[in-house]
């Protein structure tokens, strides 16, 4: 499955990146193709392009704040979870994605 994701937490110093790491690792383990954009204190990194998003079947938002440039995602199915969920139980999120 091709998946895109955005992670973002209020301070953007730690949890954003832990969530990104968890999503990437878990996706690899489950055989998915994922690209994760982080929206943290350092701004947007690993930014998703329109073509990234177009090719994805689903977008995961692991966020506790508003996603920046959300309009990019108008044509894709979005699953939104709290950041902590991505850190704590990434496998559960992918089950939801597939379900």
């Amino acid at each position: 499955m091709r998946i895109v994701a955005v992670t973002a937490c209020p301070t953007g110093i730690a949890h954003t990146y832990m969530a990104a790491e968890q999503l990437e690792k878990t996706a690899r383990a489950l055989g998915h193709d994922i690209k994760v954009e982080t929206q943290g204190a350092m701004g947007i990194e690993n930014e998703l392009s329109d073509s990234d998003i177009r090719q994805a079947q689903v977008a995961i938002f692991a966020v506790d704040i508003e996603v920046e440039k959300r309009e990019r995602f108008h044509d894709v199915k979005i699953i939104q979870v709290p950041v902590q969920e991505a850190i704590k139980n990434p496998v559960g999120i992918f089950q939801k994605v597939q379900g």
Partner: protein
């Protein structure tokens, strides 16, 4: 003939939010005292009438905001007096209420440590006059105040009682004057002079007469008057007034002793265990009577910062608090308490968390002190190898010893005014030689720059008969009065020269504005040297002579001056106020008067460059030199020396070692390029870039086998390590920032790890602290498991998106999701292993120890 002097009158409404407290009162009395005319001020609300020339009386009139007041002026120069008072009321009075610019101290945000807040115990606050922390059992020392029984005897005829009071005042006055004549430090003479002024206060005399007329015996009258005025002074929250309240009590106690011919001193107390002595008043003799090893702290009801008892306590390093409200009621004999004179409080309930907090706190302070000492005793050299001498400013020979203990490289400014002011005659040559010799001896080969007396119309030296001036700062003072008082300056030069045979003394001329002043001065020096040669008295013929740069004109004749003098010392306080035409004592303009003004910084740069082009030496001895926030600018200027209050030396020296002179020069250029006058804070905080960065990770920030029992303790422990390492000066602010982040949601990320973090102005450099616990603590983690490893990251407020340390932390956050990374940290047994492991994984360079 029309004989009646018509009083001139005018009314006004008190505009001061805090009423007529000491500052407006003393300013107003100062104006009134310039004239012969009687000035009385009636509070039309209460009907009380005050003598406009008496500070005590003005305060006692209890004039509050909105009170309508009427001034009546009558006498010879009433027109002028009335006009001046009117001007004062209209122009200056409203500004009297603005908060004084805070005297820069090492003060923190004043917040309580979280542990004390959470402990839920009562803290009783006071004013700290000697820092430190002491724990022990309360011992309430006996009351010093005249016992009530003595006053039950009926008064004799009132003229006899009045005679007794007058006699007592004269005796106390004589005693104080005698003490002033002895060699005392500046602080001592300041309090003594204040006492003399109070003894002479007309309202005090009137109050005493009034009480005696009411039939009180002399001793009761003194006591009542003391209570009356100290109560008046105590009304205000201002520290200044509180101190005066203690003074007047002190004074009335002395009067009472004089009248009764007894010392109101109870028998000496024996200490046999760690003790906190609580007393109303403590005399120096009483203090010295205690066995030092058992005396852990003092809590005094009444003592001024300048009282001898406090001076002694401070020199003996006894933590001391005063003005703890109802101390003797709260603190009961035999009860164990902790006096935290660093934070100005007493804790009377020593619950286990409080004890744990203070046990750790004492340990932290010990470690911090030894860490600072490591930095302060050697020379201060920047990270890129440039030396900046850090010297001390002193006002008496006694201050040299503590200054050198704190790491002073030299004495950059030895003020000599204290020898001259507050006495009836000028100091003799022998008296001065003794002082300068003591200084030379204490300096033990290090240089001492002695500034010749800088006296003007604002300093009381009656034998000089200097006229009172409306603007003494621009008046007849410093080197300007030397030609008229040649005998005085020659005596001082002789004294300094005589002492110069025994140490590295240098001479510094104050208030120079022209080359002629320097030439005359040098002429006198040459003549005195000839005299000494003739008398075969030794002196240092090559003693350097320098000048203060305080008057802006000097900066434009530096080429000529460099040919005549050996060195320069920039006095920023006066230079800045003359340069910007802003009186630093005028609250309305003081906030505009900033040494960070780009014009002023450019000016300083020019001065330093000119002096260096001529191959001469230039230091700085004003307030600016001691302001740690300005340090990058000072290093950037390329000064040879800064001379500061001794207590600032350790922190300044430590900071110098972290700065890069090259980066400071760039920073200086940026400041010089500023277009606007900005608060130096803004400039400095926005772009404080010049630190030769301490590494993000460091061995001293790794703590293993920690015994903390809670999340709060863990965080405090890491913050304490940052404090010991000199990375934060305000632990409470940092603690608050970390917990504020913690409040959004827990940083316990699971697997036994927590990563508290924050961005705050409380740290001077980005830092990561790592702590491994002996026993896991609760952290409200994502997986509900307790925490064993805590990694705390504190970033400077100015950290931006591009900050590489933020990227490091992002990397660390990702690493924590990696089991192998976590496992290695969990099993690591020593600090080096922890450090190298984390550094390697994060791609950082660190130094480890063998």
């Amino acid at each position: 003939m029309h004989q009646v002097c018509e009083a001139l009158e005018f009314t006004f409404v008190c505009p001061l939010a805090n009423g007529f407290h000491a500052r407006p009162a003393s300013n107003m009395a100062a104006v009134a005292n310039r004239f012969v005319a009687d000035c009385s001020l009636m509070n039309l609300r209460s009907g009380s009438v005050a003598n406009g020339k008496s500070v005590l009386s003005l305060i006692a009139a209890d004039i509050r905001k909105g009170d309508e007041c009427q001034f009546r002026v009558s006498g010879m120069d009433d027109k002028e007096a009335c006009a001046a008072l009117r001007r004062f009321v209209e122009h200056d009075l409203p500004a009297c209420d603005e908060p004084l610019t805070e005297i820069a101290t090492d003060r923190c945000s004043g917040m309580l440590p979280r542990a004390l807040k959470l402990a839920g115990v009562n803290c009783y606050f006071g004013l700290s006059l000697s820092r430190g922390i002491g724990q022990g059992k309360v011992l309430v020392a006996g009351d010093l105040v005249a016992p009530r029984e003595s006053s039950t005897e009926t008064a004799a005829e009132s003229w006899r009682e009045q005679e007794q009071v007058d006699g007592a005042i004269a005796a106390v006055r004589a005693r104080i004057e005698a003490m002033l004549l002895m060699r005392v430090s500046t602080t001592e003479s300041a309090v003594l002079k204040a006492h003399l002024a109070m003894l002479g206060d007309i309202t005090l005399k009137e109050k005493l007469s009034e009480l005696i007329a009411q039939g009180l015996p002399a001793d009761r009258a003194v006591e009542e008057a003391g209570q009356f005025f100290s109560e008046c002074l105590r009304q205000s929250e201002s520290l200044y007034i509180r101190e005066r309240a203690l003074d007047i009590q002190d004074l009335c106690l002395q009067l009472a002793e004089e009248i009764n011919g007894t010392q109101f001193r109870p028998a000496a107390l024996e200490l046999s265990e760690p003790s906190v002595v609580v007393a109303d008043i403590l005399t120096p003799q009483q203090l010295l009577g205690f066995e030092r090893r058992w005396l852990t702290a003092l809590v005094l009801e009444s003592a001024a910062a300048t009282s001898h008892t406090i001076i002694l306590a401070s020199s003996l390093d006894i933590p001391t608090l005063v003005a703890v409200k109802d101390a003797s009621l709260i603190l009961l004999s035999g009860q164990e308490v902790i006096v935290d004179a660093n934070r100005g409080l007493v804790v009377a309930e020593l619950t286990p968390p409080v004890r744990r907090f203070y046990a750790r706190e004492l340990n932290t302070l010990r470690r911090r002190l030894s860490a600072l000492e490591r930095h302060s005793l050697g020379p201060a050299i920047t990270a890129d190898g440039r030396r900046l001498e850090v010297a001390a400013n002193v006002s008496s020979a006694e201050e040299l010893i503590p200054a050198f203990e704190r790491g002073a490289d030299a004495i950059g400014l030895f003020r000599t005014e204290f020898l001259y002011v507050g006495r009836e005659t000028a100091p003799s040559e022998e008296e001065q030689v003794a002082v300068y010799l003591r200084a030379a001896r204490h300096a033990a080969g290090r240089s001492v720059i002695i500034r010749t007396f800088d006296i003007g119309g604002d300093k009381p030296a009656p034998y000089l008969k200097l006229p009172r001036e409306t603007n003494p700062f621009l008046g007849y003072r410093g080197v300007r009065i030397y030609p008229e008082h040649q005998d005085l300056i020659r005596t001082q030069l002789r004294s300094i020269l005589r002492a110069s045979a025994y140490g590295r003394l240098q001479m510094l001329i104050p208030m120079v504005s022209s080359i002629e002043e320097v030439l005359s001065f040098k002429q006198w020096v040459a003549e005195v040297q000839d005299e000494l040669k003739g008398q075969q008295i030794d002196f240092d013929a090559a003693m350097p002579i320098g000048i203060m740069i305080e008057v802006p004109s000097v900066a434009f004749i530096l080429a000529e001056l460099c040919a005549e003098v050996d060195f320069f010392s920039i006095g920023t306080n006066d230079l800045c106020q003359y340069f910007l035409a802003m009186d630093r004592d005028n609250a309305r303009v003081a906030k505009l008067s900033s040494v960070g003004h780009p014009g002023f910084v450019r000016f300083l740069k020019q001065i330093v460059d000119r002096v260096h082009e001529a191959g001469k030496w230039v230091g700085m001895c004003g307030e600016m030199a001691g302001d740690i926030r300005q340090l990058p600018l000072l290093v950037g200027l390329g000064l040879d020396e800064i001379s500061v209050t001794a207590s600032r030396i350790p922190a300044l020296k430590q900071k110098i070692t972290r700065l890069s002179a090259t980066a400071c020069e760039q920073f200086l250029s940026r400041t010089i390029d500023c277009r606007q006058v900005e608060q130096p804070d803004n400039v400095l905080e926005r772009s404080q870039p010049t630190e030769a960065e301490l590494p993000l990770l460091d061995l001293e920030l790794v703590i293993l086998n920690d015994e903390s029992e809670s999340k709060e303790e863990v965080i405090r422990q890491i913050i304490d390590a940052l404090y010991v390492a000199g990375r934060t000066e305000d632990r409470e602010l940092l603690e608050d920032a970390v917990h504020a982040r913690e409040a959004t949601y827990s940083t316990g990320v699971g697997y036994g790890f927590a990563i508290p973090h924050c961005k705050t102005s409380a740290v001077s450099c980005d830092s990561i602290g790592i702590l491994k616990l002996r026993r896991p603590v609760e952290w409200d983690s994502l997986d509900g498991q307790p925490v064993q490893v805590v990694i705390l990251m504190a970033l400077r407020e100015s950290a931006t998106a591009a900050n590489k340390h933020m990227q490091v932390f992002a990397r660390l956050a990702r690493k924590l999701m990696d089991k192998e990374f976590r496992d290695q940290l969990l099993v690591a047994q020593d600090a080096n292993t922890v450090l190298t492991h984390v550094a390697r994984e994060l791609g950082l360079q660190v130094e480890t120890s063998a």
